[in-house]
């Protein structure tokens, strides 16, 4: 079965990113396909490359990046939500004349149409939020 996943909250503050990670691992373990993981609202902050969590804690951005690489996951950060909150890739950095970008490897920035498309293409859309 094809799953679409929506994550509405940033890492650490709410459990949503953790819960989604466990859900996605379980779904992959059962042979399901993950069509796309869409990061919306504060969820875009999961894509930051600049996080340095304590050594004895999990590193959520890294876990998502690694899982994406291993399973070819499509991690999409909403562009409108990301602009508000200061998440930029190299292209967005140039376009807005900023001095830095902060998007982790394995994430891409795209529009809200990607969320609707996930709703259409996936057999189930599951949202994790506050």
């Amino acid at each position: 079965m094809k799953f679409g996943i929506v994550i509405n909250e940033g890492p650490y503050t709410h459990q949503s990113s953790d819960s989604a990670l466990q859900f996605v691992k379980a779904a992959l373990g059962k042979g399901h396909e993950i069509f796309r993981i869409f990061f919306y609202h504060d969820g875009v902050n999961n894509g930051t490359d600049l996080g340095v969590p304590p050594q004895d804690d999990r590193n959520l951005a890294k876990e998502w990046s690694e899982l994406a690489e291993k399973h070819g996951l499509d991690l999409v950060v909403c562009i409108a939500a990301a602009q508000r909150r200061g998440m930029l890739d190299a292209d967005e950095m140039k376009r807005h004349g900023k001095n830095a970008s902060n998007l982790s490897k394995g994430f891409r920035i795209s529009g809200l149409g990607q969320l609707i498309e996930a709703g259409i293409q996936a057999d189930r859309l599951v949202t994790f939020g506050d």
Binding site: Q22, F23, A26, R124, T127, G129
Partner: protein, 102 residues
């Protein structure tokens, strides 16, 4: 045609469990997870309300979230099934759609 409803907040803190019970159609399933597991425990102010809703809805609760909060799976309300993340995935697949009460 039944739906899976998920609730991730404590009924003491938020109104999401209440809204879910009000608007979930008879025959639907409800999964309690994250802080929502508090709604699945015996002897709380909300236990009776959840027990009553069990005549119309099937309840599930995520075990790992119960354990994290130092609660015991033995103290889950009778008739609520304790599940793991694999079961969460199965529940999602078995129902026609998922509504997250946020």
């Amino acid at each position: 045609m039944t739906m899976l409803h998920t609730v991730n907040k404590s009924p003491f803190e938020r109104n999401t469990l209440e809204s879910c019970l009000r608007l979930a159609k008879k025959g639907s399933a409800v999964l309690l997870f994250e802080d929502g597991v508090i709604g699945a425990m015996q002897n709380t102010k909300f236990s009776e309300k959840v027990s009553q809703a069990m005549s119309d809805l099937s309840f599930y609760v995520l075990g790992p979230d119960i354990k994290a909060r130092g609660l015991s799976e033995k103290k889950v309300i009778d008739g609520i099934k304790v599940v793991d993340y694999n079961d969460f995935v199965d529940l999602t697949a078995e129902h026609n759609a998922v509504q997250s009460w946020l």
